[in-house]
């Protein structure tokens, strides 16, 4: 009867045809709980790393590495994979020697140890940080055939720390204390002038990142988080907050991080990161390898001005769009994940995503961007990305007329 059929199947073929019922790791013991007090990814994930563009910068010490967004499943960026950008390398800061000075136009200057900073009332919030040079190589033309290298100068994390407002209230500002200059203790002594109005809004002096202390590349032990504003103003390895009446017009807000437009004029202080989105699957690194059929288009969207409201996806190079599904939570100045079902017919296609944020701003095309910004302002490339899907399933980075 039925008993004998199943039983004899098992008895007769203890290792059924490929794949076998048991893998080698099913018949042996794995690693014990004391093997890795601090855990690491699987060895099979060793290709999932930050990468850089070797020809971009004169030295790896004033350079950037990129988050592998093609392997980021959700809105949180792994601390190990969070993009890097700095101007004199990652300093090794001893938290015991760390001091933060609050000085300038304040009523009571402060000198604080890390332990002292951690005593103030705190908040924990999930925000993205994006370098304004994210996509810089793509201003003149589609140049890098990679999601990671065209969009990976962004990361999203839960940041925990003290509101900058709390410390400014504590030090006491004058009515003419209009600007704050955070300075880093790295070799670059990185500094950026920030308007008081933003400093009193949602900026965080953060010591925590995704469940642990801030990572060295992210400013250990203390960084400024300026939600929605360009990465470089989120000053790392903080040493000082100087309050003043006017901005300092530092090298990082003139030579760097300003936009030279086509007419020879420049924009300074373009802090906010405009709304942007990108399809993270499929992409050049993650082609359609399984032939025609069902796939899910997945992507990430964000806005430095607020929340993501819609993401629309085109499968025909921008002729028609469909509204994508957004995953919860949808948070302020935070990545939002979107998905769209996709029945691929095996034919070439041009796919795009386009975000609308809650200010009503709609992500533009590169052609629209070129009109105002010229062909190489370096920063602020938030244009719609087009991926070309070939009949082979391969995916290329292209730009359209």
């Amino acid at each position: 009867g039925a008993t004998m059929i199943a039983a004899s199947a098992r008895a007769a073929s203890p290792a059924p045809t490929a794949p076998p019922a048991d893998n080698s790791w099913s018949n042996s013991l794995g690693a014990p709980v004391d093997a890795r007090p601090y855990g690491q990814p699987s060895k099979y994930e060793s290709s999932v790393v930050r990468r850089y563009i070797p020809w971009l910068s004169p030295t790896r010490l004033a350079d950037a590495s990129f988050t592998p967004l093609q392997d980021q499943p959700g809105i949180i960026t792994s601390n190990g994979l969070f993009f890097e950008r700095y101007h004199s390398g990652v300093p090794t800061v001893d938290p015991k020697e760390f001091r933060l000075m609050v000085s300038g136009r304040v009523k009571k200057p402060l000198l604080l140890t890390l332990d002292q900073i951690m005593r103030y009332p705190s908040v924990s919030r999930i925000h993205f940080i994006e370098c304004p040079a994210n996509g810089a190589t793509e201003w003149p033309a589609a140049q890098l055939n990679s999601l990671q290298l065209t969009h990976g100068m962004i990361g999203c994390a839960e940041w925990t720390g003290v509101l900058l407002k709390t410390i400014l209230d504590e030090a006491g500002i004058h009515p003419d204390s209009r600007w704050v200059l955070p300075t880093g203790s790295d070799g670059a002594h990185m500094d950026r002038s920030l308007p008081m109005v933003k400093c009193l809004d949602d900026c965080i002096l953060a010591w925590g990142q995704n469940g642990e202390a801030l990572r060295p590349e992210q400013g250990y032990p203390l960084r400024l988080v300026v939600p929605g504003w360009q990465g470089n103003v989120n000053v790392k390895w903080l040493r000082q907050l100087q309050v003043g009446r006017e901005p300092w017009i530092t090298r990082e807000e003139t030579s760097e991080y300003s936009e030279l437009l086509g007419d020879g004029k420049s924009l300074g202080f373009t802090w906010v990161m405009d709304a942007k989105s990108v399809i993270t699957f499929p992409c050049p690194e993650k082609p359609l390898t399984q032939g025609p059929g069902f796939y899910e288009i997945r992507g990430l969207a964000w806005s430095g001005r607020g929340k993501v409201k819609y993401v629309d996806v085109s499968l025909d190079g921008g002729v028609n769009f469909q509204r994508a599904k957004l995953d919860n939570p949808i948070l302020d100045k935070c990545m939002t994940r979107f998905t769209l079902p996709y029945w691929w017919d095996g034919k070439p296609a041009l796919i795009q995503s386009r975000v609308t944020d809650d200010t009503g701003y709609v992500q533009p095309t590169i052609v629209q961007k070129h009109k105002f910004w010229g062909h190489d302002p370096v920063y602020e490339n938030n244009s719609i990305q087009t991926w070309q899907i070939l009949a082979s399933g391969e995916v290329n980075n292209v730009q359209l007329s």
Binding site: S103, L144, V319
Partner: protein
């Protein structure tokens, strides 16, 4: 013209000289240094056009009573930023001649003997007049709006391998040398706390500090947004040969482009 140093009379317009020190910078010291329209924007941006006029702190000053008060010496030591007013510039001075010697030992290996840049390290000289052309060259000379930034940046961040180790006289001298190589100051010019803020940099008037966005408009069109026949691929990264290998160990492209 734009490339000459500013007339000394500019400095006379304020009663406290540039290069003053204190706990604040102030609008009155900017007269003759910062274009009035820019100064206005700076003041407006700081408070969000007055949005903070009625700002009420959540707590009184020193409410939490945590931490210590830094000493004046500590504040002076930590406070290195020099704004366009020249506030916080230290005593000392320097000349292009002295700067040349320091530069050739400490800077030329990266920035080139004439500031022309080397091995992709930044070019410090040239490009004046190029900004509006199809091949703009952004350098200290052509692009930077304030000479105080030159002093400040060399002081805080250079030489690259030993940042913030130069003495004030050395930084003044290097500032003089780089400005002179750019033809902005004469070789006889003496850089000090008074003179540096008064240098009129060629690109001083070309920055718009007020964010004009949104400047690029798209609409959330859903159907027949563009004509299918108008869609042409204008560039394709797959044909560029610029992309490092994206799997396996990090590709340093030693054998490629």
């Amino acid at each position: 013209g734009d490339t000459s140093s500013a007339p000394a009379s500019d400095a006379a317009t304020s009663s406290v000289p540039p290069g003053h020190a204190g706990d604040h910078n102030s609008v009155k010291y900017y007269k003759g240094i910062v274009p009035a329209k820019d100064l206005k924007v700076w003041r407006e941006e700081g408070t969000g056009n007055g949005k903070l006029a009625h700002y009420k702190p959540a707590t009184k000053v020193d409410y939490y009573k945590i931490g210590t008060t830094p000493t004046p010496a500590q504040i002076a030591g930590w406070t290195i930023a020099v704004p366009p007013s020249g506030e916080n510039l230290p005593a000392g001075s320097g000349t292009a001649a002295k700067g040349e010697a320091i530069y050739s030992t400490n800077c030329a290996m990266c920035h080139g003997g004439f500031g022309e840049g080397k091995n992709n390290y930044p070019q410090l000289v040239g490009g004046i007049g190029s900004l509006g052309t199809p091949s703009p060259e952004k350098t200290v000379g052509s692009y930077w709006p304030y000479a105080t930034t030159v002093w400040d940046y060399i002081n805080r961040a250079m030489p690259f391998y030993a940042p913030h180790t130069l003495k004030p006289d050395e930084v003044y001298s290097l500032t003089a040398y780089i400005l002179n190589m750019n033809g902005i100051t004469k070789s006889s010019w003496v850089a000090d706390a008074k003179s540096v803020p008064l240098v009129k940099m060629p690109n001083r008037n070309s920055f718009n500090w007020k964010d004009p966005r949104p400047v690029t408009h798209n609409s959330a069109c859903m159907k027949n947004c563009v004509s299918p026949s108008s869609i042409k691929i204008t560039s394709n990264a797959a044909t560029m040969n610029l992309t490092p290998r994206l799997t396996g160990p990090v590709d340093h492209m030693k054998n490629g482009k």
